[in-house]
């Protein structure tokens, strides 16, 4: 009877997870959706606690459970409340890793304890160990790169990388085969996890900073699939359902990110496509054509403007310029200028990164426009301001089929009447190619740090 009750509770939890994700389809319902998900989790946990095995396990086990949950809850809650919005990609990377590791550890424990070792159990244990190990270490590397602690954010590549990865993957599978052949060989699970850990590191180091949105989306999907695999180990429906929902979510986001860069997943994972193959040098593009401007000059541009579009990039996050941008928006609005934001899907370091930053600065989400929504009206924009973005506004993507970013959808700022680019220097973006936008007839370069430039601009508009 109890087990039927627990089964029903798991069903309720699964349904709440689905409703939770449905809620995320609109900002108005999203908060409630997230709460539904959390309630689902709570129900699943409470139901598990009345399981016969746990009720009968005795006070020592109960204490261990209480300590473990308190510790995890405290750490998770503290991180979640303290983390800055600009550091959200790192935070999500880390959480992905912990989820993946937990799934792998549970699968390992189940293998050690198993009395009835079916093929389903052994195969899914191996899958969970493999995916979980890759997720944990891949996420740690992604975290490190985003935080710029030890590893550089540029791709790390070495000769024969693909072959090495393949060998390590085969080693992991070899240990897995041992478990499937002889389930009592539980030591081999450590081998699976160890090889998977190395593989996770090797797979993530060649991914460059600007490709991180793909890496994080992919790791997100892995953390879900690891949970689903553990669901197969334990024959547990709610793990399978929750895991596959998350897996599906990560796969979709990965696809969206790759499409937004017009690159294949394989290309991103190899750290490829970033070598500058274009034969035009920076000098040829820029020499004598770049016009530098000042805050006062830009302030004058606003005098006759009706519609201004701001295009944020990772530079906005780096210089923490979101609040200054909000002040500029309010100021321009007060002068009857319509201000919108054009957001490229891969701007920043994770899907939706820019939206979160701008929302944090209290900018109405109705002003945040997707690329496809704003591009058709770009030629009616009086002033387009690019803050810390480069490759996602490079018109070469449309014009030069040999360019490394050829075919990548871009925000067509070059079609605006005047373009102001706020940037420290003419240094290239992640793709390593010059950007003819900076030398265009209608472009003014404002060389400065993003935040400082916007603050100066605000002062100039107020004076003018």
């Amino acid at each position: 009877m109890t087990s039927a009750l627990i089964g029903i509770a798991y069903l309720v939890a699964s349904v709440l997870f689905i409703f939770g994700l449905i809620g995320l389809s609109h900002p108005r319902t999203a908060v409630r959706g997230n709460l539904l998900g959390a309630i689902g989790m709570l129900i699943a946990v409470l139901a598990t606690l009345i399981d016969r095995e746990i009720l009968g396990a005795g006070p020592a086990a109960w204490a261990t459970i209480a300590v473990g949950m308190a510790l995890g809850g405290l750490l998770g809650g503290t991180f979640a409340l303290k983390v800055q919005m600009t550091a959200m990609p790192q935070m999500v990377a880390l959480l992905n890793g912990f989820g993946g590791a937990a799934s792998a550890l549970v699968a390992g424990g189940a293998l050690i304890d198993a009395t009835d070792t079916s093929v389903q159990l052994t195969v899914s244990t191996v899958a969970s160990g493999l995916i979980g190990g890759v997720t944990f270490w891949g996420s740690l590397v992604a975290f490190d790169k985003l935080q710029e602690l030890v590893l550089p954010s540029r791709p790390i590549r070495f000769p024969g990388q693909l072959a090495v990865n393949l060998v390590v993957a085969l080693i992991a599978l070899g240990f897995g085969a041992i478990i499937v052949a002889d389930p009592s060989a539980t030591w081999a699970f450590a081998g699976v996890v160890a090889a998977a850990s190395v593989l996770g590191i090797l797979l993530t180091i060649p991914i460059g900073g600007a490709d991180m949105p793909v890496a994080i989306a992919l790791l997100n999907s892995y953390s879900g699939l690891a949970a689903a695999a553990t669901g197969f180990v334990l024959d547990n429906n709610v793990l399978i359902i929750a895991g596959s929902l998350v897996g599906a979510s990560g796969i979709i986001l990965t696809r969206i990110m790759c499409r937004a860069m017009n690159r294949s997943l394989a290309n991103v994972l190899m750290g490829g496509g970033v070598a500058a193959t274009s034969d035009t040098t920076a000098d040829e593009v820029y020499a004598g054509r770049v016009k530098s401007t000042s805050a006062e000059e830009i302030a004058m541009l606003f005098d006759g403007a009706r519609r201004v579009v701001i295009v944020p990039g990772y530079g906005l996050a780096v210089s923490q310029a979101q609040h200054a941008v909000r002040d500029l928006t309010t100021l321009l609005e007060s002068r009857g200028i319509d201000v919108e934001f054009a957001i490229h899907p891969v701007a920043g370091r994770m899907p939706g990164h820019m939206n979160v930053l701008l929302a944090e600065a209290d900018i109405d989400y109705d002003r945040l426009k997707e690329m496809d929504e704003i591009n058709p009206t770009m030629n009616q924009v009086d002033v387009a301001i690019v803050v810390g973005a480069n490759d996602v506004v490079n018109p070469v993507a449309r014009t030069d089929p040999k360019s490394p970013i050829a075919g990548m959808p871009i925000i067509d700022v070059d079609k605006a009447r005047t373009v102001v680019v706020i940037k420290r220097s003419l240094s290239p973006g992640f793709a390593g190619i010059p950007n003819p936008l900076f030398a265009a007839e209608n472009t003014l370069m404002y060389f400065a740090d993003g935040k400082k430039a916007i603050l100066d601009l605000i002062a100039a508009v107020k004076e003018g």
Binding site: P27, G72, L81, M88, S103, D113, A226, V246
Partner: protein, 92 residues
């Protein structure tokens, strides 16, 4: 084998539900989607609870570490998502 077909069916159907639901999430909310769905993958909490409760010492230790990680994942994920979503407001 029959049991496997049962759980596999659930897996495949849940994937379809996932695809159907997630494609409706606008890019505006992609970051909260990642952190929120990530919190859901903390569901391995319940596996960890069962591992802790077993008599085997090694499993208990593995289960304890898993319990800390999974709880961190779930609590951290839901809380940070809540914090983020609170920022998406409309002011008119």
């Amino acid at each position: 084998m029959e049991a496997f077909v049962g759980v596999f069916t659930i897996f495949v159907l849940a994937m379809f539900v996932g695809f159907a639901v997630i494609t409706k999430v606008p890019p505006l909310l992609h970051t909260p989607l990642m952190s929120g769905s990530n919190a859901i993958s903390g569901i391995s909490i319940i596996g960890a609870l069962l591992s802790v409760a077993t008599p085997n010492r090694l499993t208990t230790v593995l289960g304890f570490i898993a319990l800390v990680f999974a709880t961190l994942n779930a609590v951290g994920g839901f809380v940070v998502t809540h914090r983020m979503l609170g920022m998406f407001r409309k002011r008119d």
